[in-house]
């Protein structure tokens, strides 16, 4: 074959071949013809994001595994449990990542998820629970999904009646979750839910083995029942209530009925459920007696059972109570026909039986931990007992047992062993303390005294910072004062023993107040409120009122104390917030005779710089009011006022106003306001002449102490206000006054604006007038005073002339010259005042003498040098 080729090639040119013959091997592919038309079509992809939704997931909300919400929801109903579970976790991731998805598709999500409530697989249910609890419900909290709840509820009820116990119990857990987030939903389905609870508890023997599940269900029940209305013992609402900040009083108020009014169905259900709860509890009791210790699960179950019983008893009581109190004022919530259903016949029988089991575990000693548990259970039972004692007449023996328990609890004979026991004990004691007043008022005398004894001891032992104090205080208030609702005294104060206890409590209050200091201002406020109420409500001339009066001796320490070395120790009053201060000031009003010692400690507080002026004015107000109703001696009040004016520290500060001096000026303004307040009080007191005599006497005692110019000015003002024309000042006091006034005038002269100065500060002029005007009034009313003052001024210029004849002390000369300047400016200023000019004309002699003295000074040889 290889040879043939060249031959053929030789031949071909000869033959003049037109077409080249091409031999082809079979099976070999032909090369494409050269002239072949290229029919190949080339295309490039055009990316249109909008169109790629179907397949591309880059722009979409996807879970970690890249699945969209829709797919995930579809997968939740997958037949494989694992897929379902993964789908739920996927939804969780997705929602956490894209919260907007949830709000957009909440209906779809819930609709799909609810199907899983009764899922056969335990893990799936658990995942769903977590999903709802942690993600979905918190996120949906804001918008009220009423329809969503009803969507869920259908399936929850389905679950509750499921054959599989696991699913059933889980359904309760789901319901608990719903109620937790939307408490109102309980009332919508209360009847049905309670019915289901009843069913499940009836068959409790089945679940006794699986206590954790039962516990879960019971937690839900407790939560539901705690939503029922009951008589809440709240602390006096006026303590913490801040006045509403309504814009206008008569504005339309949207009134939503807060309570679901139709309780009758709930009542019936509860009636049925209560005996079952009791039975269930009694099933647990055999567990208590064997030597084996009580395990945590069954303890919890018992605890929750007790709580449920407690809550339902409370609810019954509330209904009964409501029936009685609604006397025409508000419409009764229950119809008449509900009345017999109120369980007064049916319930107590088994409750009594139930209460017989008290006290648990007194038979043998087990480990400390267990004892605590029993202790808690006992307290719970006691609480139920106390709640129900108003309508069950228990046997005396049982009553004794309870009372003894309470007494031991109060006196601390029973204690918790574990470390956290202290806090626990306080917590439980707080829940029992509100019952004490009622209990004490009802029980027989021997127990009354024992209980009160224990109560008083416990109150005394209670540490000031303990939270128990609040509960103690409200109990004490109830036992001391006529109660707010009934208006009658709970305890008869005429019995000496009760009175003794009451007195002990009252005496303890100021001590507690002082010990508290300013650490717990809220508690201090409660105490002060109690004191105030005591002052207001203690019957007149009773021993309680007497005790209240005595209290002022201890209360002095609360304000301030004068130590032996003369320094002042300020009490907690200074550091407490303003509302407490005001309360404590109000308490002063009700002392039937205010003690001068208390006034003294009060005046120290008033003189302290840190006291807010508004509180100071309140003190003045209250003392004046107390005087008006005869709770304060006139002399005491006046000496209080004068001391205040004479000693109040006005910060020295020149009044040439600089910014940094602003504070000092305001201080002077405060002083002016104080003087004004005192003046108006003095004027309202009545007999001016008598008051003037007293004020004059007190002021004359103060003046020799050389008070600062401002205080002297204040005192002069007090005198001027009460004095009349001609003056009522006595001879002796005129002499004393003239001494200090001459000095005062020379000091005040420095405020007189200089004549040459054109831009006289208006502020300065007013200050100057403020200082001088009271003197002018006095001069106007008494010529003698003016004469004396002028004499003294004259002698103050000339007095040194003879003794220190030629003392070349420049200091002295400077002093003297400034003094002369002051005297001259005073005289000139007095001359400007028309009234005083007239007066001055009558004492020309004194003025000439002054001028002569000045001349003498001027020609003194000392000056010539």
């Amino acid at each position: 074959m290889a040879r043939s080729k060249p031959s053929s090639s030789k031949k071909q040119p000869k033959r003049g071949v037109d077409f080249k013959k091409i031999k082809r091997k079979i099976g070999r592919k032909l090369p494409p013809p050269k002239n072949a038309t290229n029919t190949e079509i080339k295309s490039k992809a055009i990316i249109l994001p909008e169109q790629s939704v179907a397949s591309e997931r880059a722009g979409l909300a996807v879970s970690k595994k890249g699945l969209t919400l829709k797919e995930l929801l579809q997968q939740t109903s997958h037949h494989n449990a694992k897929v379902r579970r993964d789908a739920l976790t996927g939804i969780r991731d997705l929602v956490l990542k894209y919260p907007a998805e949830l709000t957009l598709h909440k209906l779809a999500i819930i609709e799909k998820l609810r199907e899983r409530i009764s899922d056969e697989d335990k893990v799936v249910r658990e995942t769903l629970y977590q999903l709802l609890k942690l993600v979905i419900f918190p996120a949906l909290k804001k918008d009220v999904p009423g329809s969503l709840i009803s969507l869920m509820m259908a399936y929850i009820f389905n679950g509750m009646t499921h054959l599989a116990t696991d699913i059933r119990l889980m359904a309760f857990k789901f319901f608990d979750l719903v109620v937790q987030h939307y408490p109102s939903s309980f009332f919508m389905y209360a009847e049905k839910v309670l019915q289901n609870y009843e069913d499940i508890l009836r068959k409790n023997h089945i679940y006794l083995q699986d206590r954790s599940k039962l516990k879960n269900a019971l937690v839900g029940l407790v939560r539901c029942l705690s939503l029922l209305p009951c008589n809440r013992r709240t602390v006096d609402p006026s303590y913490g209530k801040n006045t509403e900040t309504q814009g206008s009083l008569h504005a339309y108020e949207l009134e939503v009925p807060k309570e679901h009014t139709d309780f009758s169905s709930i009542i019936k259900r509860l009636e049925d459920i209560l005996p079952i709860l009791v039975n269930c509890f009694q099933d647990f009791i055999p567990l208590v007696h064997p030597m084996s210790s009580l395990d945590a699960q069954s303890f919890d179950c018992m605890l929750y059972l007790l709580r449920s019983i407690d809550l339902s008893v409370k609810f019954f009581l509330y209904g009964i109570d409501k029936h009685q109190t609604d006397f025409g004022v508000t419409k009764p919530t229950y119809n008449e026909k509900d009345m017999p259903v109120w369980g007064e016949i049916a319930t107590p029988v088994f409750l009594r039986k139930f209460l017989e089991v008290f006290p648990l575990n007194q038979l043998h000693n087990t480990s400390g931990k267990d004892e605590d548990k029993f202790f808690i259970l006992n307290i719970e039972i006691t609480e139920i007992f106390l709640h129900s004692n108003e309508w069950i007449f228990t046997s005396a023996i049982l009553m004794e047992r309870f009372l003894e328990f309470i007494e031991n609890l109060l006196s601390g004979k029973i204690r918790f062993n574990s470390r956290s026991g202290k806090a626990l004990q306080e917590k439980h004691l707080t829940s029992l303390l509100p019952f004490i007043p009622r209990l004490v008022s009802l029980v027989a005398n021997t127990w009354k005294s024992r209980l009160l004894q224990a109560f008083t001891m416990a109150f005394k032992d209670c540490k000031p910072e303990s939270t128990l104090n609040l509960a103690f205080l409200s109990a004490i208030e109830e036992m001391l004062l006529p109660s707010k609702r009934q208006g009658i005294l709970l305890l008869d104060a005429s019995e000496p023993e009760i009175l003794d206890h009451q007195i002990t409590w009252i005496r303890e209050l100021p001590v507690l107040l002082v010990r508290l200091g300013d650490t717990l201002s809220s508690l201090s406020k409660v105490i002060l409120h109690l004191l105030l109420r005591l002052g207001q409500y203690a019957p007149m001339n009773s021993s309680l009122a007497w005790e209240y009066d005595i209290m002022q001796h201890t209360l002095g320490e609360f304000y301030s104390m004068c130590l032996d070395d003369g320094s002042i120790l300020y009490g907690p009053f200074m550091k407490l917030p303003k509302d407490c201060q005001e309360l404590s000031v109000c308490c002063l009003y009700y002392f039937s005779s205010l003690d001068s010692l208390l006034l003294r400690s009060l005046v120290y507080c008033c003189l302290c710089d840190n006291l807010e002026p508004s509180v100071l004015f309140r003190i003045i107000d209250v003392l004046h009011s107390a005087y008006k109703i005869g709770h304060l001696q006139l002399v005491d009040l006046i000496s209080f006022f004068v001391t205040l004016v004479a000693r109040w520290k006005v910060l020295p500060g020149r009044l040439y106003t600089h910014v940094e001096n602003a504070k000092k000026i305001s201080n002077r303004e405060t002083f002016k306001a104080i003087t004004g307040a005192v003046c108006s009080c003095l004027r309202q007191m009545g007999d001016d002449a008598l008051i003037f005599q007293i004020v004059q006497r007190v002021i004359l005692d103060e003046i020799p102490l050389n008070p600062p110019i401002d205080n002297l000015c204040g005192m002069l003002r007090l005198l001027v206000i009460l004095d009349s024309r001609p003056t009522k000042l006595s001879e002796q006091s005129i002499i004393i006054l003239s001494n200090s006034i001459s000095e005062y005038l020379i000091d005040a002269a420095s405020y007189i604006p200089e004549n040459g100065d054109e831009v006289t500060d208006s502020n300065q002029i007013s200050i100057c007038q403020y200082y001088l005007v009271p003197c002018f009034f006095l001069f106007d009313r008494s010529d003698k005073l003016l004469n004396l003052v002028l004499d003294l001024m004259g002698s103050s210029i000339g007095e040194d002339n003879s003794s220190l004849a030629c003392n070349h002390d420049t200091q002295h000369t400077l002093d003297l010259s400034s003094r002369i300047v002051a005297v001259v400016s005073i005289l000139l200023y007095m001359h400007q005042d028309i009234k005083i000019r007239r007066r001055l004309s009558s004492c020309k002699g004194e003025i000439t003498r002054i001028l002569q003295k000045m001349r003498l000074q001027l020609i003194d040889p000392c000056w010539e040098q």
Binding site: L249, H250, F327, K484, G487, Y537, A538, Y589, V622, S680
Partner: protein, 445 residues
Amino acid sequence: MEVVIASSPVDAGIGCWDLHSGAEQLRYRSCTSTPHGLACVGQRFLVSSQLRDSSSSSGTILYWSWNKPQVEVKSFPAEPIHPLISNSDGTYIIGGGSSGAIYFWEVASGRLLKRWHAHYRAATCLFLSDDESLLVSGAEDGCIRVWSLFMVFDDIGMEMAKHPYEYSFSEHTLRVTDVVSGYGGCNAIIVSASEDRTCKVWSLSRGKLLRSIDFPSIIDAVALDPGEHVFYAGARDGKIYIAALNAESTPSNIYGKHIIGSLSDNSKGVTCLAFSMDGILLVSGSEDGTIRVWDAKTRNIVRIFRLAKGPINNVLVVRRPLYSNFQTSANSHASLSRRHVPLLPPPLSKYVNSTDEIVDSGAITVPQTPSSDIMDAPYLSSHVLTKQISELQQQSSAATGMEVDRLKLDCKRSLEMVQKWKEMFADLHKFCVDELLGNDQTQTQ
């Protein structure tokens, strides 16, 4: 005639001025009234409780009739009475004692119908709601209580109820100085002032605090604007503050929240306030012994009256019947009592005498002519009515004859008058017709 009456704790008598002309009327002598202790009983006479020194245990209540300056009737209740009010008909007088008890007297017989323990400390002010079914009382212990007069007399109801009062408000920390109530009976608001420098607004229907307003000074008197837009609060610093009830207040007030302004005349403390009947003029009494009349709209002083040097503690605006009206008053009860018994009712008794009253302590509604409004029915206790009946029976023999004669005479005179009027009317009618017709004729011509 609308008059301002004012009294003082120092003996300056009760001043009385015509509000519109400013003319001073009779001054009633020897009165030292307690705060809130002046009242006008049914426009018939004045009554005031008296300040006494604390030594005497009993109090004093005095009556003055309109036309005599002397005290006419004196009564001595068991303890000093501070506040005193009367209902608008003048059937009852209610007083608050210094022990905190409230006394309830019937004016016509002077009997003490009820005395009950209302407060722990002395009562300071009383106020009747506008329908006179609720009594609001304030006390020195800062407590305000609302009583239903209906309940107070319902002994069985009182026992059933947990507390005798409707409400007890104890948010004030110091003495309550004044209480007023708005319109609307049991749905009204009440405004109270206290020495703790606040005024508080309460709702009677809901029984709760609506608003608390802090003032720069102690408020001694409160007056409600008739429209209840604002209330006026007379303070010890001499100003009358205006506090908003309805309006939204701007936070940048100089006095404080809700206070929208003040009336000020640089006087001493304002102790009492009262509104005139038309609700435009506000009358204030002051510590300095003057009574100022303000125009509440323009906030200017219209008039100043001067009573005494001492302080004033009561100001009332009352309608005083003119003497001419007095005689022709159609009220049979009033005319009867005026003619046959002394002008003023007997003094108020000291104690509730419980011997014979149990039997007939009920109230009787006097049957009215059908035309008159049922709400205006005067309530009198059966005791008074039996007394009046017996009086009628006694006097029927002698006095009735005279009465009948007199009435016949009256009737005759009236008939003559009627005749005369008729004639005059006919004349006038003829004259008018002539005039009209004459005019027509002149026009047509």
